[in-house]
């Protein structure tokens, strides 16, 4: 009844089915591979945030004037501050030490002239810097007319850190998950000897490779869907028709990551080394060199060159442009061509190595 289907396709579907059964019966691995990205995304999106909220601020005023009252009022109503209250001068040290306040504003009026001092708790530099900047803008707010610097931040007006992190997390997750899953699954078959049985059967090597890549490609698509859903709903990324481009480039990146996994599987002998190579060798460059955390432009020249071979750098850069800036596909032509070139190179290398290592 299935005689009209070519045998190669039958064998391929049989290998894919086997791989799917394996995945389904290993719920721990499946749980980790699907939930880790989601948790990571939520963690970076909400909990781990470089934006500063709820700065606890206290005020020391020696003589109240209209201006000092006005400043206190503005500190109280500003959503970024939690107003601790007014305190005597002698309490500054105690307030900061006990963490009752993150910053103290000292308003000193001398002969009608207001001088302002900001004392901030520097034990958390990010908080201290942001608090100082916030307070400065609030205190000088009334002088806006005299120094009219109007700053507008485009694409991410609230400077939400999730905007910054979502492309980075996507770039990291796919290279990690895809590379680890494919390399470990291929290496474990080689270790257990079942790869030998596949190879002594009439099945062709490219059927084996496809049979390994397709299930993990499908699983990656599920992860991509979950991550995009969270990004556009819970994390509030701007949604537009450009999502088609986001998906297309992500699929290309997934294929690239799967090829990297395939290549790793031909280079290592044991499951553990596959895991370590995929996790360490890919996670560190992705974290450090992809521009996910540290801007590429700030790196020393040599590291900038090195970062050019990190696929995540190009993917993250493309994602920032089309996901956050909402630019058309034409604007990420460079990134897409580099990613496509890397994919072809990796696939050719991996398939050649795979065939060599087996025959």
């Amino acid at each position: 009844m299935t005689s009209h289907i070519p045998e190669g396709i039958m064998i391929l579907s049989s290998i894919i089915r086997k791989e799917m059964l394996h995945l389904r019966r290993d719920p721990q691995t499946l749980l980790v591979t699907v939930f880790m990205p989601v948790v990571l995304l939520l963690l970076f999106g909400f909990a781990i945030s470089t934006e500063v909220n709820d700065v606890k601020v206290a005020v020391v005023v020696d003589t109240h004037t209209d201006r000092t009252r006005d400043i206190c009022m503005r500190l109280q109503t500003n959503p970024y501050f939690t107003f601790v209250g007014e305190a005597p001068h002698a309490d500054i040290d105690r307030l900061l030490r006990t963490s009752e306040a993150d910053a103290v504003v000292v308003l000193h009026t001398d002969a009608g002239e207001l001088s302002t001092q900001i004392v901030a708790d520097g034990s958390n530099t990010t908080l201290a810097q942001s608090a100082q900047a916030y307070i400065r803008s609030v205190v000088s707010g009334e002088d806006a007319a005299s120094s009219p610097i109007v700053s507008r931040v485009l694409y991410n007006p609230q400077l939400k850190s999730s905007y910054n992190f979502v492309p980075g997390i996507l770039g990291m997750i796919f290279i990690l998950i895809c590379a680890i899953m494919t390399s470990v699954s291929i290496v474990s078959e080689r270790q257990s000897g079942t790869m030998d049985l596949l190879l002594v059967s009439p099945v062709r090597p490219h059927t084996i490779i496809l049979g390994k890549l397709i299930p993990y490609f499908l699983l990656s698509c599920v992860i991509l869907a979950a991550m995009l859903l969270i990004s556009y709903t819970a994390l509030g990324l701007p949604f537009s028709a450009g999502v088609v481009n986001v998906v297309a480039i992500s699929l290309l990146y997934i294929v690239l990551a799967l090829s990297v996994g395939l290549l790793v599987s031909t280079l290592v002998r044991t499951e553990v080394s596959a895991l370590i190579v995929s996790a360490i060798a890919f996670m560190i460059p992705v974290l450090m060199l992809s521009g996910m955390i540290f801007p590429v432009d700030n790196m020393p020249r040599a590291l900038q060159w090195f970062s050019a071979i990190v696929p995540a750098r190009w993917y993250i850069s493309a994602m920032r442009k089309i996901m956050i800036q909402q630019l058309p596909l034409a604007s990420v032509w460079t990134e897409v061509s580099i990613l496509a070139g890397m994919t072809v190179l990796m696939l050719v290398l991996a398939i050649r190595k795979f065939k060599n290592s087996t025959n």
Binding site: I11, K18, L21, G193, T194, D196, P202, N359
Partner: protein, 305 residues
């Protein structure tokens, strides 16, 4: 060239500086049960991997059913059934799923090969839905053999199929192989258990990548022409060291729970028993023994070095 199920000619294979196979030649005749006998690390698995088309030899050639394994490997793969050293199965798949998967790789259905594996698989049929990873060693072995046979190979390559399996399963397994042989399947089986060697039609003794000898087990044992004795005493270690220096003894080695003594015509077991007892050893017993494959192996290995 023609008439051989498997023909191995001057095959050498090195892994780095380790020479796994060194000029190996052997012929396996159609329909026979051929044993490859040797200790671990003798090169058995390397030879299997080459015959099974998984590796190329550095030198020499292998033909299966007259087909060269290097050039005609695709046809060879349809003819052979290979069972590697470990029972390589998918632990997460059930018994039935494993069987169906391996059948599908060859584009055949389980039904078409079922009569061949029925005697082996019947014991597994009671739990078709148990995962392969949860099977006992003996059951894994039977499933692995079923998977290797499902596409009706003409030549079966079994690499140490009884290693790590209990004694009952081992003897059951050899019964199954005998049944398969009556169906005309050529079997090349390797083992490091010398007692399994006599169950084969012909055997090749392999050591350090070289074939020491090839013949029927009976003729090989008959070629052991020395006088052989079984020796035991209360203190086996003292007995061993005493006998090794005893006049007329050419070799002495542990053999199971006793010692085997190879001696020339000047050796008198009665006199030796008395002499050793006089030296303080208790319960000394030296009786004539029949040599077997293991004795031959030790003799041939001695010549090697």
């Amino acid at each position: 060239m023609s008439g051989c199920a498997i023909q191995v000619r001057d095959v050498s294979k090195s892994y780095g500086s380790v020479k796994a196979l060194d000029g190996v030649s052997l012929d396996v005749r159609p329909g026979e049960m051929f044993g490859l006998i040797g200790p671990d690390g003798a090169g058995k698995s390397s030879l299997y991997r080459i015959v099974a088309t998984l590796q190329h030899p550095d030198a020499g050639s292998v033909a299966v059913d007259g087909l060269d394994v290097a050039s005609a490997y695709r046809q060879v793969r349809d003819i052979i059934g290979y069972m590697p050293e470990r029972f390589s199965l998918y632990p997460y798949l059930t018994v039935r799923e494993n069987l169906e998967f391996f059948a599908s790789l060859f584009g055949v259905s389980v039904q078409s090969g079922y009569d061949l594996i029925a005697p082996i698989f019947s014991q597994l049929e009671r739990f078709p839905d148990r995962r392969a990873g949860a099977l006992s060693g003996g059951m894994k072995q039977k499933l692995a053999l079923s998977c290797a046979l499902i596409h009706r190979p003409r030549i079966l390559l079994l690499d140490e199929p009884t290693t790590g399996v209990d004694a009952v399963s081992r003897s059951e397994f050899w019964d199954m192989l005998a049944t398969l042989r009556t169906q005309g399947i050529t079997i090349m089986v390797s083992t490091s258990y010398m007692d399994e060697a006599r169950l084969c039609d012909r055997i090749a003794l392999i050591h350090n990548g070289r074939i020491l000898d090839t013949d029927t087990p009976a003729r090989l044992v008959a070629s052991l022409d020395e006088r052989l004795f079984d020796a035991s005493a209360g203190d086996m270690y003292a007995l061993l060291s005493q006998l090794r220096g005893y006049p007329g003894v050419t070799d002495c080695y542990t053999f199971g729970a006793t010692l085997h003594v190879v001696a020339d015509a000047s050796f008198d077991p009665v006199a030796a028993t008395a002499a050793l007892t006089a030296r303080g050893l208790s319960c000394v017993s030296i009786t004539p023994a029949h040599g077997d494959i293991e004795d031959l192996f030790i003799k041939l290995m001695g010549h090697e070095s």
